[in-house]
Amino acid sequence: MIVFDRVYKRYPNGREALSDVSFSVPRGDMLFLTGRSGAGKSTVLKLIALIDRPSRGQVIVNQQNTAGVSRRRIPRFRRQIGVVFQDHKLLNDRPVFDNVALPLVIAGMRRREMDKRVRAALDQVGLLGKENVGPLELSTGEQQRVGIARAVVSKPPVLIADEPTGNLDPDLALEIMQLFKRLNDVGVTVVVATHDVHLIERFDLRRVVLDHGRTSSIAAGSVRG
């Protein structure tokens, strides 16, 4: 589903964010991307969502080589990827419903169908009934779940998350991570970037550890579940 083949990323200021990174995530798999801050986790996610392009090497998402996706086609490309951010990136001047519905509005969905989908997504993250609440009235954990609902509402085959538990206390963090696992269980390919080593120890999942932009190890997680 996602293939990184000898990927390099050098920024214009000369900093090399990734050098020779290779890994792959099969369809329906879930992967943790870990390593210290600045190790290149965010860069990997940016290359998947075509927020940036690799300097060298190939990034293939859902059988498409990102190098072949023209600027004009990026929007369509991104619609198959759900993205979750550490800071949620919610639109605070709009109710939860509008935030979650945004990808569907972009896709041009009918209102009736949209209602159904948004409610289903909110149900998945346990926020059904909060449609008309403003994001700022919600707790940080709830805001993050709104962000996840928005990422999955259009049922993208790929879901990527950048430090989704960064601002949460351990219990909430575990809850969110379990939510990702549940989404993965219904067939979504999930990549989660996190530096929280203790948290991912609790899941029996593959990990790619980055260190200074290099793949330092690829391993199956310790079996804890």
Binding site: A49, I51, P75, R78, K89, I106, G108
Partner: protein, 326 residues
């Protein structure tokens, strides 16, 4: 949950799918149109200020245009007052003058020819001037026979008057032809200059409106940076991101045009009474020309177009620069 999306692509429903997606397309545009207006009404002060500036900018050339139109209408009656005075040479006898007057009456483009014999002219001159005594001292009448020629009202263009003047001038019996309408011509050239000024002012202010709308939209884009980023991140195309801003520009222009109509209408209404009083003093039935449908259409249509164009420029320049960086 995974099934309901599959229904949309069943082959039997393809036809309906086309109409449906067109329906969705228009529905989306309508929603964005209304949403843009809604967003503007939530910031009434900022919207009012932008709209006012546009309204005033559009009202200025419209007022100038009305001024020119009114001046033309008010002076239209003067054209029919154009007369040519034809003075014969002193040795031309009355019979010859009468014959020439008749010839002139036959000519097309001539409405009336009045012959003023030298005796009548002298009598009149004696009555209306203080030179009575001096004139008595003269043994001969120094005045020639004369004609007053009034062109037909549809033959009063400067070129036609000129042609008529030259035609008469070429007669050997004629000493002098006077057209006492130079000042009317001058006035009309002044109006032409004013008209040109109007076009220049309108052009400048149109550019002004584009800049105002462009700047407002630029600030709007800056304020909604996060929203634009997020929208692009979840797959919003450039066109989708751009749409609400274009509609905002549309509304600014339309509202500005409406305000301009209001301002011009108000101005005309305020001037109506004093102008007709003034016209009354000159025994004229002149009535001030107010807002006509053409001006209204021009203000609303022009305003909308300029607003749209201004926001189109702003979005072209600034939206591309905003890309998600998360």
């Amino acid at each position: 949950m995974a099934n309901d999306s599959n229904q949309e692509v069943r082959p039997g429903r393809a036809r309906r799918g086309l109409f449906e997606s067109m329906g969705v397309y228009f529905e989306r545009h309508a929603q964005t149109l209304v949403a843009s207006l809604g967003r503007m009404t939530r910031q009434p002060m900022a919207t009012l200020m932008t709209t006012s500036v546009i309204g005033i900018a559009l009202a200025l050339p419209a007022c100038l245009g009305l001024l020119v139109a009114n001046a033309r209408a008010a002076t239209g009656a003067w054209d029919s007052a154009i007369e040519l005075s034809v003075f014969f040479k002193n040795d031309v006898r009355l019979a010859k003058a009468e014959q020439l007057a008749r010839a002139l009456r036959e000519r097309s483009g001539v409405a009336a020819v009045e012959l003023i014999p030298a005796d009548a002219a002298l009598k009149e001159f004696r009555e209306f001037s203080d030179f009575g005594a001096a004139l008595d001292a003269l043994t001969d009448n120094p005045l020639p026979h004369a004609l007053v020629v009034r062109p037909a009202s549809d033959h009063i263009s400067p070129a036609e008057i000129d042609a008529l003047k030259r035609h008469v001038q070429n007669w050997p019996e004629v000493d002098l032809v006077q057209v006492d309408t130079e000042w009317v011509k001058r006035f009309h050239s002044m109006l032409d200059v004013l008209h040109r000024v109007l076009a220049l002012v309108a052009g400048l202010l149109a550019v002004g409106v584009i800049v105002i709308v462009g700047n407002t939209i630029r600030l709007d884009i800056e304020n909604r940076r996060t929203e634009i980023e997020v929208t692009k991140l979840v797959g919003g195309s450039d066109a989708f991101v751009r749409r609400p801003f274009l509609y905002s520009g549309f509304w600014y222009g339309l509202l500005g045009g409406g305000l301009a109509c209001g301002l011009v209408g108000l101005g005309a209404w305020l001037l109506q009474e004093p102008v007709s009083r003034l016209a009354g003093l000159y025994a004229s039935d002149f009535r001030l020309l107010g807002l006509d449908p053409r001006t209204i259409g021009l203000l609303l249509g022009g305003g909308t177009l300029l607003g749209w164009f201004g926001s189109w420029l702003a979005t072209s320049r600034h939206l591309r620069a905003i890309e998600p960086t998360a």
